[in-house]
C-alpha cells in the first residue's frame, strides 16, 4: 500500500516536472487541505466565548431596534393618507407645536439612548473580561509574520530547549497561551476565529495576544490584514491537544533533524544542501541554517505545506518545489527544477524529517 502510494507519487512528480519543464502555464488544480474549525461563532475557548455572548446580546438588541424602525416605516405608509400629484401642501404644522409626533420622537430617541448605553457597558465589561483572563502557567510563543507564512518560536528553560517551527501552532488544551506578535516585513494580523479576536503584527512594534483552547482540535487561522500578493493563502493551523501529547510533541520538536537512513534520503539531503533550498531554509543538525523561510527540521510532522495551502504529501511537495508560483503566484520561493530522480530523492528526504 505504502509502496503503491510512493509509486503514484513518483508518477505525479514526473508529471509535475515534465509539465514544469514544458513551461506549462496552466495548473492542474490545487489539492485542497482539510481545514480546522474556522468560524467566529463556533467557539472553543473562553475569549471567543465571551465575545460570542456579547455578540448574541448586541445582535438581539440591534435586530429589535431595526425591526421597530421598519415597523414604523410600514405603519407610516399604511396609516398616512395618499395625496394627488397637484395637492397643495398641508401647512397646518407651521408655527404649531405637534405634540403627538414630538412625544413619539422624544420617546424613540430616549429608548435608543438607553439601549446604546446598555451596549456600551456590555462591550466595555466584555473588553475588561478579555483582558483579565488568568495567565498562570501559560505557554509563551513568539509569532513572527512573514510574507506569506508564520514563524513560530517556542521558548524553554534552557536556550537549547527553544525551537522554531512554522504555520502549525501546537498548544496544550486548558492552558493559557501568550503570543508575542512581531512582523518581519509588512503588517499582518493573527486571527483564529474560533479561539480569539485578531491582533495586528506591526513592524517596529510588539503586541501580545492571549487565549486558551478548552477543547482539543484543529482550528484554522488566517492573516486578516492585507499584506500583498499571497494574503489570500497566508493561513495556519492551531492544534490544541491534551497536555501529555503536547509535551511529547515539544520533546520531539526539540530534537535535531533525523539523519537520513536509506540511500534515497541520503541522496536527497545532498540535493537539499547543494541546491537553492539551502539559501533560505534551515534544518537543525545540518549545514542549512538560513532563516528566510520556514524551518524544515520537522517538516514531515506537519499536516500542510505552503502556509496551509497544500496537504503535506510527497506528490504535493514535489509539485510545490518544482513550481511554487503555480500555487501561490508572487510567493518568495523560487522554482527549483531538478532531474526527476533528484526530485524524488529530495522529497523522500523531506518526508523523512519526522
Amino acid at each position: 500500500m505504502g509502496a503503491e502510494l510512493r509509486r503514484r507519487a513518483f508518477a505525479l512528480v514526473a508529471a509535475a516536472v515534465a509539465a514544469a519543464s514544458a513551461g506549462a502555464a496552466f495548473a492542474q488544480g490545487r489539492t485542497p487541505v482539510v481545514p480546522g474549525a474556522h468560524d467566529a461563532l463556533a467557539v472553543a475557548g473562553p475569549q471567543a466565548a465571551q465575545i460570542g455572548e456579547l455578540w448574541n446580546l448586541t445582535v438581539f438588541i440591534c435586530t429589535a431596534v431595526f425591526c421597530a424602525i421598519l415597523l414604523g416605516v410600514v405603519f407610516a405608509l399604511w396609516r398616512s393618507g395618499r395625496a394627488r400629484d397637484d395637492e397643495p401642501a398641508d401647512l397646518s404644522s407651521i408655527g404649531r407645536h405637534e405634540r403627538g409626533p414630538y412625544l413619539s420622537v422624544l420617546w424613540s430617541v430616549g429608548v435608543s439612548i438607553v439601549l446604546l448605553l446598555v451596549l456600551v457597558v456590555a462591550s466595555v465589561v466584555t473588553d475588561r473580561a478579555l483582558a483579565r483572563m488568568s495567565l498562570e502557567n501559560a505557554v509563551n510563543i513568539d509569532v513572527t509574520g512573514h510574507q506569506w507564512w508564520w514563524e513560530l518560536r517556542y521558548g524553554g528553560d534552557k536556550p537549547s530547549d527553544s525551537f522554531t517551527t512554522a504555520n502549525e501552532l501546537h498548544i496544550p488544551v486548558g492552558r493559557p497561551v501568550i503570543l508575542k506578535l512581531r512582523a518581519d516585513d509588512v503588517i499582518h494580523s493573527f486571527w483564529v476565529p474560533s479561539l480569539a479576536g485578531k491582533k495586528d503584527l506591526i513592524p517596529g512594534r510588539t503586541a501580545t495576544l492571549h487565549f486558551r483552547a478548552d477543547q482539543a482540535g484543529r482550528y484554522r487561522g488566517q492573516c486578516a490584514e492585507f499584506c500583498g500578493f499571497q494574503h489570500a493563502f497566508m493561513a495556519f493551523e492551531v492544534i490544541a491537544e491534551p497536555p501529555d501529547r503536547y509535551d511529547a510533541w515539544v520533546a520531539a520538536q526539540r530534537q535535531p533533524a533525523a539523519e537520513p537512513t536509506d540511500a534515497g534520503a541520503r541522496r536527497g539531503q545532498e540535493v537539499f544542501l547543494g541546491s537553492a533550498c539551502i539559501m533560505c531554509h534551515a534544518i537543525e543538525g545540518t549545514t542549512a541554517g538560513a532563516r528566510k523561510a520556514p524551518d524544515l527540521t520537522h517538516l514531515a510532522s506537519r499536516t500542510t505545506i505552503a502556509a496551509g495551502t497544500l496537504p503535506n504529501r510527497s506528490a504535493e511537495l514535489a509539485r510545490w518545489i518544482a513550481n511554487p508560483q503555480e500555487f501561490k503566484p508572487g510567493t518568495n520561493m523560487p522554482a527549483t527544477a531538478l532531474p526527476a530522480d533528484d526530485m524524488r530523492a529530495l522529497v523522500a528526504y523531506l518526508e523523512s524529517l519526522k
Binding site: S21, A25, A276, K292, A322, Q325, N332
Partner: protein, 186 residues
C-alpha cells in the same frame, strides 16, 4: 498641425516603458532542469567546478534592470543571501565596493552574472546552482542600481531599515571603467 507623429511616438514609448517598469514577473520554472546538484561547488572561496557560462545556456535577462519589481526583488535577495555581509550597501567592506566606477570584471549585466555564478578570486564565492538564474538576474539588476546605472524611476528607494548609504534612486551614475589591478588591494 505640426507633425503629431513624434509626440504620439514619445507618449507611446513612455507608456510602454511604464508598463514594463511596473510588470510583476513571477518566476516561471526554467526551461531546462538544472545540472546535477551534487556536483555543485560548496559556498566556499574558490569552490570546486563552477558552471561555465554558455555551458549551461541561460537566457539573457539583463533587461530586468528596467523593471522596478525585479530590481526590488534583487534588493531583497541581496539582503537575504547576505551579499551585504561583504559588500554592505554597496560601500564595500570585506568585499569590493559596488557603488563606485571600478569594475574589475566588467560592469555589463552578463559580466556581473558571471561573477555571481562562477565566483571570483579573493573571496567571491560561486553561487551557481544555489541561486536560480532568474534570481541571479534580479540581483544583477540591483547591483547595477547600486552604482546608479539603473533609471531613477526604476531603482529602489530607501528601505525600512537604518539609513546607511543614500538610497539607490538618488545615486549619481558612476561612469564604469575597467578597474586597474593596481587598486585591487581593497
Amino acid at each position: 498641425m505640426i507633425s503629431r507623429a513624434p509626440v504620439v511616438a514619445t507618449l507611446l514609448a513612455c507608456a510602454l516603458a511604464g508598463c514594463y517598469r511596473e510588470k510583476r514577473e513571477f518566476e516561471s520554472p526554467p526551461e531546462t532542469p538544472a545540472r546535477d546538484a551534487a556536483r555543485l561547488s560548496a559556498v566556499l572561496p574558490g569552490g570546486s567546478a563552477p558552471l561555465k557560462p554558455g555551458a549551461q545556456p541561460t537566457p539573457d535577462r539583463s533587461r530586468l534592470d528596467e523593471n522596478a519589481f525585479a530590481v526590488n526583488q534583487g534588493k531583497r535577495l541581496y539582503r537575504w543571501y547576505n551579499c551585504s555581509g561583504c559588500h554592505s550597501n554597496g560601500g564595500g567592506g570585506m568585499g569590493v565596493p559596488l557603488m563606485d566606477a571600478e569594475w574589475r570584471y566588467g560592469h555589463e549585466p552578463r559580466a556581473i552574472y558571471a561573477s555571481i555564478v562562477e565566483g571570483r578570486p579573493n573571496g567571491m564565492p560561486a553561487f551557481g546552482g544555489r541561486i536560480p538564474d532568474e534570481q541571479v538576474w534580479q540581483i544583477v539588476a540591483y547591483v547595477r542600481s547600486l552604482s546608479g546605472q539603473v533609471q531613477k524611476d526604476v531603482a529602489p528607494s530607501r528601505s525600512d531599515t537604518i539609513s546607511g548609504a543614500p538610497p539607490e534612486n538618488t545615486r549619481p551614475e558612476a561612469k564604469p571603467a575597467p578597474g586597474k589591478a593596481a587598486s585591487s588591494g581593497r
